[in-house]
Amino acid sequence: MRQLGHLLMWGGFLAAAFFSLSQLEVADNKWSTVPWINYFGGVAVGIVGVVLLRTTGRQLEGDEESQEAKFSVLRKQLKEVSSTVFGMASQASHDPAEVLNQIDDQCAEPLAEFANARQALVRRFGMSVYAEVMTEFASAERYINRCWSAAADGYVDEIRDCLQKAETHLRKTDALIAAAEVNTARTFPEDGELD
C-alpha cells in the first residue's frame, strides 16, 4: 500500500506539473494556458497518494521494531553523554585541554546519534513531547558547545558554569522522556498490565 501511495503521489504530481507546463501563454486568455481540469485531476490523484502514504505510514510506525530500536539508541546515547557531562561537572577544577578532549571524544558522537534518532520521540510520544524534549536537549548541547569554546579559550569559570547548565538540561531531558513513558504506559497499558 505504501508503494502505491508513493506511486499515486508522484504520478499525480508529475501529471499536474506536466499540465502546468504543457502550453506557452495563451495571449488573449492567460488563465486558459493551464488546462485546469486535467491539472486538478493530477492533483486529486496526488492527494489520494498522500492519504495512503500518511495512513500506511502511521500503521508502519506502530508495527516497526526499528522504532523501538531507535528509541533504545536514543536512551543509550543520552545516558552516555549524561554520564560524561555529570562526571566532568562533579570535578573540583577543570583542565581546559582535558575538557576539550573529553567533549570531542566522548560527547560529540552520542549527541549526534541522539539527534539522528530523534524521530523516535515523535512517533512514540507525539509532537508536543518531542518539542519539550528537544528544547531541553538543544539547550544542553548548546551549553556543551559553549563549554568547548570556553575550554579552547581557557576560561575555567565559564567551563564550570556551562557544565552545570548542561547537566541541568540533560537531567530535564531525561525526566521529560521518563514522564512521557509513564504517561504512555498509563494511556496504552500492555496486555496483562491491568491485572
Binding site: M9, G12, F13, L14, A16, A17, F18, S20, L21, S22, Q23, L24, E25, K30, W31, T33, V34, V43, G46, I47, V50, L53, R54, G57, D95, P96, A97, E98, L100, A108, A112, R118, M127, S128, Y130, A131, E132, M134, T135, A138, S139, E141, R142, Y143, I144, N145, R146, C147, W148, S149, A150, A151, A152, D153, G154, Y155, V156, D157, E158, K165
Partner: protein, 613 residues
C-alpha cells in the same frame, strides 16, 4: 555589555597548550560591537558596490568571521570564540543590507530613465532608509520563533553556518582540523582562480559541447564551483531533494513535454535556459509559496510549541531559558511597531495614497514577510541558497496590484518599491540571522545576545548602502554600462511587466497547488526542496548533488565520525576559499576593470567632504 578583561594565569593547563583564564567569558562586548560595525561597513560598501557591477551579492558571514578573527585575536589580542561570533553576527547584519537593497532600490533609478517615469527617482530618501530599517526589524522579529523550530527541533544543516562555526572554532580545533580547513580553502581558492581565468564569468561546463550526441534538453551542465560541492557535502542527504527537483524538470518533464507538449513548448525544450526562464522558474516560485504555506500548516504544532516554550521561559524568573531567549513580548512589540511603521511609511510614500490602501499594503507586506521568512529560513537551512529574488518579486507583485487600483503609475511604482524594499530587507535579514544563529548554536553562543547583536547591526546597513547608492548614481548613473546593476534591471523589467498585467499568475497558482501537495505529504522538507530544484539553474543543483553523494558515500564507507572529523572541515574550507577569491575578484574588477580607481577615491573624498561640511 562589558569589556572587563579576564584574569590570565601564567600557568598553562596540564597539557601545556591552553593558558588558563578566570573571570567572565567575553561575549557581547563593546569591542565586538565596534569591530562588527567597522567590518560590516567595510564589507557592505565593498559588496554593495561590486553587486551593482557584477549583478550578485556575496555572502559576508565567512569574510566577517575571518576578518574578525584577524582583528580580534591577531591585532587586539582578544581570546574569545563567542565574542568573535557576536562580532561576525553584527558585521553580517550590516552587510545584509547590501544584497537586499542592491536588488530592489536601484530599480527606481533604472525605471526613472523610462519616458514618463522620471519622477520615480525623486523618492523620499530618509523614508526609504526608515522603510529598510523597519523591514530589518520585521524580518528579525519573525525569525525569532523559527530558530527554535528549525535549529533546535528540525536541526536543519545551514551549511554556511557550519562553515562560519568551523572558522570561529579553529583556534581550539587543533592543528589537524586547521590544516584540513586551510587545505580545503587553498584548493578551492586555486580552483576558483583557474575557473575564473579559463571560463570568465560563466563558470558552466556544458556536457553537450563535448558530447554532441547528448540530448540538449537534459541540460547536463556542471557549475564549476567546489564551494557548491562543499555546500552539498555539508547538507548531506537532507539536501537530496533539491537535486531531485532539477532532475524531475530536465530528465523527466522536458522529454515528456518534447513529445506531448504544445508545439511552442516542444520546440523550446532544446533550450534549457529558456525553459527555465519561461516555465520552470515561475512554476518553482509558485511551488515555493505553496510549500511554505503547507509547511507552516504541517509544522504548526512545532511552531506553537516553540512559542509556548518562549512564553514559559518568560514566566520563569529563575530559569536559564529566560536569559537565553529573547522576551516574547519584545517579539510581539517589534512586529506590532514594525507593521504600524510600515502603514505610516506606505501612507507617506506618495501624495495620492489613501489610509485604507496603505493599511492593506503594510498588512499584506507584513504577512508576506512571515511566509517568505519561513521559505528562506528553510531553503538556506537545507541548501544554503535563498530565493530572495523570487520572494521579492511576489511581494512587489502583491503591492503593485493593491497600489495601482487608485494611484497613477509613478505613485504606484514609488510606493510599491518603497514597501517592497522593506520586505526585501526583511527577507535578507531573516536568512542571514538564521545562518548566524546556527553558527552561534555550534559555538555555544547565547541566542538572545545574538539576536540583540543582529538588531544592533541591522540599522546601520541601510544608511550606508543607500548613501553609497545615491552617491554612485549621481556620479555614474545606475543602469549605465559602468554600473549595470543586473539584478535591479531584472526587477525593473518585471515591475513594468506587472504594471502591464504581464505576469504568469496562472503558473504561480498552479505551482502553489503542487507545492502544497508535496508539503502535506509528510516527507519532511520535500516541498521547498523540489520547488528550489525547479527555481534554481540545474547546473547548480547537479554540482550540489555531487556533494550530497560524496557525503552519503563518506558516511557509509568511513562512518559519520570521519565525515565530522575530516569531511566537514574540508567542506567548510571549500566554501571559505571560493568566497574569499570571489570577493578578491570582485575588488579586482571594481578597481581595475570598471570605474577608474583614482576616480573612485576622489568620489569618496568628495562625498566625505559633503557629509562633514
Amino acid at each position: 555589555m562589558s569589556d572587563r578583561p579576564p584574569t590570565t594565569d601564567t600557568s598553562d593547563s596540564n597539557s601545556g597548550t591552553i593558558p588558563i583564564r578566570t573571570g567572565p567569558y567575553p561575549e557581547f562586548t563593546w569591542t565586538a560591537v565596534l569591530v562588527g560595525w567597522a567590518i560590516g561597513a567595510l564589507i557592505a560598501v565593498s559588496i554593495g558596490y561590486a553587486a551593482l557591477i557584477l549583478g550578485f551579492a556575496i555572502e559576508g558571514s565567512e569574510l566577517a568571521a575571518i576578518l574578525g578573527w584577524g582583528i580580534l585575536r591577531g591585532v587586539l589580542r582578544r581570546s574569545s570564540i563567542v565574542e568573535n561570533n557576536i562580532n561576525q553576527t553584527i558585521a553580517s547584519a550590516v552587510n545584509g543590507a547590501s544584497s537586499g537593497i542592491m536588488f530592489s532600490v536601484p530599480a527606481l533609478f533604472i525605471l526613472s530613465r523610462r519616458e514618463g517615469l522620471e519622477a520615480v527617482a525623486d523618492f523620499n530618501v530618509p523614508l526609504m532608509i526608515l522603510a529598510c530599517i523597519t523591514g530589518c526589524v520585521l524580518g528579525l522579529a519573525f525569525v525569532i520563533p523559527l530558530r527554535k523550530q528549525m535549529i533546535d527541533f528540525d536541526r536543519l544543516a545551514y551549511p554556511g553556518g557550519i562553515a562560519v562555526a568551523t572558522i570561529l572554532k579553529s583556534p581550539g580545533a587543533g592543528v589537524r582540523k586547521a590544516v584540513l580547513l586551510l587545505g580545503g580553502a587553498v584548493l578551492s581558492g586555486v580552483i576558483h582562480l583557474l575557473v575564473l581565468q579559463l571560463m570568465g564569468e560563466d563558470p558552466n561546463w556544458i556536457a553537450n559541447d563535448q558530447f554532441e550526441w547528448l540530448p540538449e534538453m537534459l541540460n547536463i551542465t556542471l557549475y564549476l564551483s567546489v564551494m557548491t560541492v562543499g555546500v552539498g557535502f555539508l547538507s548531506g542527504k537532507g539536501g537530496f531533494w533539491f537535486g531531485a527537483g532539477g532532475f524531475l524538470c530536465y530528465f523527466l518533464l522536458s522529454p515528456l513535454l518534447s513529445f506531448y507538449g504544445s508545439d511552442g513548448v516542444a520546440t523550446m525544450v532544446d533550450n534549457p535556459d529558456e525553459m527555465r526562464g519561461v516555465l520552470y522558474k515561475p512554476l518553482g516560485i509558485g511551488m515555493l509559496v505553496g510549500a511554505a504555506i503547507g509547511g507552516i500548516i504541517a509544522a504548526f504544532p512545532l511552531i506553537a510549541s516553540a512559542m509556548k516554550a518562549m512564553h514559559n521561559a518568560g514566566k520563569n524568573n529563575d530559569s536559564d531559558s529566560k536569559n537565553d531567549e529573547m522576551p516574547i513580548g519584545l517579539l510581539y512589540a517589534a512586529i506590532g511597531i514594525g507593521a504600524l511603521a510600515l502603514v505610516w511609511i506606505a501612507f507617506a510614500s506618495v501624495d495620492g495614497m489613501t489610509l485604507g490602501r496603505a493599511i492593506s499594503m503594510a498588512l499584506l507586506g507584513t504577512l508576506w514577510v512571515w511566509v517568505a521568512g519561513v521559505v528562506v529560513a528553510e531553503c538556506i537551512g537545507r541548501t544554503n541558497w535563498s530565493p530572495l529574488s523570487g520572494m521579492t518579486l511576489i511581494a512587489v507583485t502583491i503591492l503593485i496590484v493593491i497600489a495601482k487600483g487608485g494611484l497613477n503609475t509613478v505613485e504606484t511604482i514609488t510606493s510599491s518599491m518603497l514597501v517592497g524594499a522593506a520586505i526585501c530587507l526583511a527577507i535578507s535579514q531573516a536568512s542571514d540571522m538564521m545562518l548566524d544563529l546556527k553558527s552561534g548554536y555550534l559555538v555555544g553562543g547565547i541566542p538572545r545576545r545574538q539576536q540583540l547583536a543582529q538588531f544592533i547591526g541591522a540599522w546601520l546597513g541601510p544608511i550606508i548602502v543607500i548613501s553609497l547608492m545615491i552617491l554612485l548614481n549621481s556620479q555614474y548613473e545606475i543602469g549605465s554600462d559602468r554600473l549595470p546593476a543586473p539584478q535591479a534591471q531584472a526587477l525593473a523589467s518585471v515591475t513594468e511587466g506587472i504594471l502591464d498585467n504581464n505576469i504568469p499568475t496562472y503558473r504561480y497558482t498552479a505551482g502553489a497547488g503542487l507545492g502544497l501537495l508535496l508539503a502535506i505529504s509528510g516527507l519532511g522538507g520535500i516541498g521547498v526542496l523540489i520547488a528550489l530544484g525547479f527555481y534554481m539553474p540545474f547546473a547548480i543543483a547537479l554540482t550540489y548533488t555531487i556533494g550530497n553523494v560524496l557525503r552519503i558515500a563518506s558516511d557509509k564507507v568511513f562512518g559519520s565520525k570521519f565525515s565530522h572529523e575530516v569531511g566537514i572541515p574540508i567542506a567548510a574550507g571549500l566554501i571559505v576559499g571560493e568566497a574569499l577569491v570571489g570577493v578578491g575578484n570582485a575588488f579586482y574588477k571594481v578597481l581595475f576593470a570598471k570605474p577608474d580607481e583614482t576616480e573612485t577615491a576622489w568620489l569618496g573624498i568628495h562625498f566625505l567632504s559633503g557629509v562633514f561640511g
